[in-house]
Amino acid sequence: MAEQVPGVSRLHSFLGLRSVQAKILAFVVPLVLVSTFAVFALFEWNAQNSAQLQLQAKLEKLVRIQSAVIAESLWNVADQQIKLILIALITDPDVIAAAVLDDRDDVIAEVGDTAALGSSRFSAQNDIMYRNGDENIQIGVLKLALTDNRLSELTKERLRLAVFLASILLSAVIAAVLAANRKVIGKPLSLLLESINSAQSDKPRHSVDWSSNDEIGSVVAAFNDLQQRQIAYEQKLQSTNDELEDRVRERTSGLLKAQSEAHEIRNQLTDAIESISEGFALFDLDDLLVVANSRYREIMTGSVGNKLRPGASYQEVAEIAAASERFPAAAEDPEGWVERQITRHKTASAPFIQEMVGNQWQQISNRRTDEGGTVAVHSDITEIKRISDELKRAKDAAEAANEAKSSFLATMSHEIRTPLNGIIGMSTLLSGSKLNAEQRDFSATISMAAETLLTIINDILDFSKVEAGALELESTPMDLAETIESSVELLASKAAEKGIELACRIDNDVPTGLIGDPVRLKQILMNLLSNAIKFTDNGEVVLSVSSMVADAKCNPGDTTLLRFTVRDTGIGIPEDRMHRLFKSFSQVDASTTRRFGGTGLGLVITKRLIELMGGDIGVESEMGRGTTFTFNLPGEVALLPDRGTREEQLDQLKGNTVLIVDDNRTNRLILNEKLRSWEMIPTATESPLEALDLIKSNDDYGVYIIDYKMPEMNGLELARSVRDLKGAKSPPMILFSSISMVDEHFRKGIKEIGFSSVLTKPSRSGQLLSALVAAIHPDEVDNLSSESELNPGSSLEAEDLHILLVDDNMINRKVGKKILNGLGFSPVVVSSGEEAIKSCLAGEFDVVLMDIEMPDMDGIAATARLREVIPMQEMPYVIALTANAMSTERERYLDSGMDDYLSKPIDIPALIDCLKTGGAHRAKQRRTGEAACATESGETG
């Protein structure tokens, strides 16, 4: 159907036939017309033929009949008659003309259109015969012409009919075609069309409701099927589509969400970067700007405008900054400045501070990111710097004020001390004069008040020093046991006065030598101990020292941590007052102050000292039961030179038995432990009577250690009993006492009984060791004691060191000489600066111990003179000696040409140190001097 004859198609298009109907009509109408025409023509031809034949037949018949009729008339020459006959003849409609001719061809009669006689197709002539008897003679001719008009009329009639019929037929055909077309094709087609249109116009598809068993029906069915499939397909497509769309929507929404989130985050980040008050910029791996906030732009370029585009290199940024006239440093040397910025930027090292115009300051931190980029943060620290400068000024001012305060305190203390000493001196003198009881009481009160005041002032002096930071700690090797025990010893008399036991216990694993400041350690210990003694009325005060680090004892250079504990059985400190203990000018309470005196500075100073030494202090207390102060001190183990001697002494004591008689448990325990650590075999008892029983029953004790003050009988009485019991065979006895040597009665008792040693409690380890060695091996004593702790200088090469001692004071000279002799030196001693110079010119000295305060020529002047007259490489090592015990003086002496400094009374370990240093100095001097002499002579000043 798709194929159409091209001509028809052209015709159709020419006719504008667009509808199927028209196309069918175009086929049907001509067909009907042609076939109608053909049928009519055939019919007409047939009718024409038969009408003509009829007409011909009628003509011939008429001619014959009429000729016969006329024959008689003619014969009779009745022309009228003939005429009538002819007229009658002509009434026949078909007859148009008739003529009767005689035998000579004369017209006898004629009617009608005679011309037609010759021309008409239907003309005939018949001879008119007359029968005259048997003979027929021809008497004339009848001519007759018929017309076909009636035939034409008929034909026309038929034609009209045919046309009419054809019209009806055509109408019927057309109507039928139209009806059929409409019914059979048009409707289903329009339904199809509608359905298609509806599908096309995205209206819901519906199947075409048309059923017929023809092709259209098939087409419609096929279409419906197709439609159905299409619908199914579309539905499937739709659902897939929907699914896809859903997924797409989902994805899209996810994407949108992510995008919006990313956008939001980006915005937030941008906002954040933008809103920080610091200048912020990020540069990538190649130092190209990635992002910078307005503040950064403002800082670098002076405006927030977009001079700095992302992608700009740091160098460009720095150049823009240099040109922005915002950096004073850049103005002087822009290129150098830019270079410096780049270097700093690249190294991304520690933050640095930069000045900007208008006394603005910024701190710049460059940091590397993980990706290798650089983040630059420029913070405005103008305010901070201003505050910091202000703070610094304030701090300086405050420090100056504090220093002034401290110095004022020191001066004041000093100033107060002077009249106070007067008061003390005078009240002492007063108490020596004749006074009545009341006056004596007054005098004692004055004296006590003044002494209290003096203590307070000393504390304040110390405190102000600590506060002013003027306190310098020494760092020298010290004999720990010696230092600790001497502190305890100094307070022994005080404890004895109050009748309380003072004990000191140093654990065996505590190193013997430690690097530290012995003077300050003593101060700490004395402070704590005197406090403890002050607040204890009966019982005991025990100092324990232990090592917190195992096995640190043997190796010099090891770091150790020592724990010092001062425990008393005193009044205790209430819980709620404990925190005030270490605070300045605060005591436990006012009543305590009244009762015990003191500024409350002692513990503050102690705490500061301990902290200065790197330690810490704590306290525990129970009301009425006592207080325990504990402090820890770190320190470096030092090697002490006299270890060998000590080892020898310990060797001699090993395995010896000792009987200890002491009523104080703590002392007993300490002694017991100490002796055990020396590998002796001690037996201890608290009761003298029990001791006597022990002696009676078992008598192999190598030595007795007896406490003087005991409840049942005192040490002297016990010793007497032992003497009585054992006589001359009595083993050596060592007496422990708290009573100083001033008590004459006591001394006499001791002499009478003959103790091998009398030691004040608590005794120093060294003393006890020596006393035990002396008791057990009396022969070795001299030998040992001369080499023992009294001679720690033996490690010096004594005979090689030439010492000159200069002092105007005879006693000082003697003391110094004896000390030096004791150390194995033989010093030359002179009494003035002039003499010293003379001696030095006369002979070479290694060390000069020079008193500072001398008449005529003081130590400083003498030393200066010495430096003038003595060649440099022969210049002795000059040690200043002075009774001015201020450590601040030290610098002054060193500045004025002294090599070293010692305060009087002379501290022997310090002296040994100085001499050692001096010796080493001289040895070095000699070596360099020799070297100098070898290369060039006369280079001496």
């Binding site: 000093h414 001390r417 002077t418 000493n421 007067g422 003390i424 001196g425 005078m426 002492t428 003198l429 020596g432 004296s447 006590m448 002494e451 209290t452 003096l454 203590t455 010893e489 100094l490 008399s493 005197s530 005196g597 100083s740 040597m741 001033v742 004459e744 001394r747 001791i750 002499k751 103790f755 040693s757 009398v758 004691s785 009294l790 105007d808 004071n809 005879m810 006693i811 000082n812 003697k814 003391v815 004896k818 000390i819 002799n821 004791g822 305060e853 001398m854 008449p855 009774a883 001015n884 009087k904 009374p905 002379i906 022997i908």
Partner: protein, 119 residues
């Protein structure tokens, strides 16, 4: 905390320092008995002459001796005078010197009472 006329601890220390022989200490104390009054005389002379330098040196000298023997009162009196001389703020020197003389006498008194031997 009584400021002792003589601090026995200091004496112990001195004894130890000079080698532990009580005889030596006794000798030194004897010297002090002799030298001390001489120094006080010097103080007086210097005071009369108005020579603060001499007075300072003598005070210092006596102070250092006092310190050796633990004569605290004497030491502090001398220290005071020395400091005043140093600072040029000498006041009532005569009185001070008298106190010093008394403190010396007391110290000597105590020292003399001490019986020092090697026990």
């Amino acid at each position: 905390m009584k400021a002792e006329i003589v601090d026995v601890g200091a004496l112990h220390k001195l004894l130890n320092a000079i080698g532990g022989d009580p005889a030596d200490l006794a000798e030194l104390i004897e010297d002090f008995n002799m030298l001390g009054p001489q120094l006080v005389d010097k103080l007086r002379q210097a005071d009369q002459a108005g020579d603060h330098t001499a007075m300072r040196i003598s005070a210092h000298s006596l102070k250092s001796n006092a310190r050796e023997f633990g004569a605290r009162t004497l030491e502090s009196l001398c220290q005071t005078l020395e400091q005043q001389c140093q600072d040029n703020t000498v006041q009532q020197s005569e009185q001070q010197i008298m106190q010093i003389g008394d403190a010396l006498a007391q110290a000597r008194n105590v020292l003399a009472k001490l019986e020092i031997d090697g026990a």
